[in-house]
Amino acid sequence: MNPIDPKQGRSSAPSIPKDPTSLVLWALAVCALVVLLAWSVLLNLYRILERNHLAGVGVEVLLVLVGLLPLLLLVPVWRGLRNAGQARAALAVKDLITTRVKATEAREWAQYAIGYGAAVLLVFLSVQFLLANDGAVGSTFFRLELIRDSFGLVLGAFWKNVWMFCVAEVLILVWGLVIAVARMIPGRAGQPIRFLATVYTDAFRGLPTIISIYLIALGLPLANVPVVRDWRPEWLAILALTMSYGAYVAEVYRAGLDSIHPSQWSAARSLGLSFSQTLRFVIIPQAVRRIIPPLLNDFIALQKDTALVNVVGVIDGFNQAKIIASNKFNLSAVTTVAILFMIITIPQTRLVDRLLEQEKRRTRG
């Protein structure tokens, strides 16, 4: 290999960076547009409030304050402009290092301004959507006095959802494990059991939950099935949810049990532990830790699917809200129940993310 000639091999002078000015000007244009749009939305909002006799000094001050917020976008734009100016000045005196540093900073500020500008734009556009049709969209979903008046009733009915998913989750935890273990039973004797368990999981994972609720909660009493026909529809719905989600959770368990390294089986069996002792003391305790995040995901889905029980006439939060909605010809009560669902599920979603992050750190470290 020939030695690299330092004079020819590579240029020792730093390359001249691109001028950031045009990007910064773009950022300025975007931000100015966002500010103007925000103001027009706020003006629109003020007119609607005025027409509904909701305007007052407090509201005006609030709107002005909100109107000032988008102006903060001009701060990064200003910094971008300043850095771009400094970059040009440094280039004029051939100070390439400073040029590069300042140009980079200018570009970063401009990108920052555009990013935040886009976010502010989206927020005000969604406000504008609610105000559309003279505020008809907003009042359809968010009629405050209706939300206030119906809140107690909806919340009361929503407890039925909470109660149903709590009971169902306990049952599903047990039932899912039973199915998962049934699918793992070894040997020729276990074959029919494995087959049945597979048929069950395939069937219920293929069946839409709403249909299984409909078939079980309406069908079993209709068919006069003993014992079950006397159950209240809530319990039949819980049974349907357990059957449906039990299939999903069984798969989660199975994936968890499968994920334990075979060497753990070898170690346990070599000590004389039986198949079931190995499962109970060695495999399941380790698997459960790993499946908590996917299990919680399934439970979040289950909690939302408790709203499906309205198809068999159970008065849950959603059904109650629907009744109010059709009486008042306005969906605000349904908004209430939607928000209630989000309030209980969002913390769990965050928790799942945290657990997954922890797991990732643990397995990496």
Binding site: S263, Q264, S266, A267, A268, R269, S270, L271, G272, L273, S274, Q277, F281, V282, P285, Q286, R289
Partner: protein
Amino acid sequence: MSFLEIRDVHKRYGELEVLKGINLKVEQHQVVCLIGASGCGKSTLLRCINGLEAISGGEIRLEGDRITGPGVDLDRLRRKVGIVFQSFNLFPHMTVLQNVTLAPIQVLGIPRAEAEARAMELLRRIGLEAKAKAYPDQLSGGQQQRVAIARALAMDPQLLLLDEITSALDPELVSEVLNLLRELAAEGMTMLLATHEMSFAREVASKVCFLYQGVVHEEGPPEQIFGDPQQERTRAFLSKIIEAGRL
């Protein structure tokens, strides 16, 4: 009648025949070392002896009793034959003490207090008494492997199988594990070990067996195998080991 007798044992995985007629005898209180290149069947043979793998032909007898084939109570066999693995395989969700007491409590039905007292004695012996409440991932590899040995010993096995138990250890941790094996050998524990630690084999083995392509190619006392190997393959294998500075 030997303590452990392996007669013409074959093991196939589908098309691949790993063991092609192994014959081997181990007497009580002997330390028998299996040496040979990776993939020659050492680990497979050990796993067959305590029933973790079913053999495809031949038979294995322990104290004259057939321990392979249909009708064998493997759980009962495994109480007599302990195994220690290359990768330790401790139960990560249990403390050291729980690792050691699980089988005595659940399999032998020993009361917890008694099992724990015995386990503490074992841990004292391996110098890890202070780590009884620690979890495996808080221990070094050498410490984990010593715990794994203690876990096997807690079942009071008559035969201990050791599957390359120092191969996964950092070099400076190997000696603490080998020292423990020396003590066990001195106490008369019957051991069958697959190993790459040739000087250790030379020092403690009653008999060394060189496995080559699924059969015992040459066996004999360590002085003979290491000092005056009769077979060409054995010489070739050992000269490579010497080249690598391992003997």
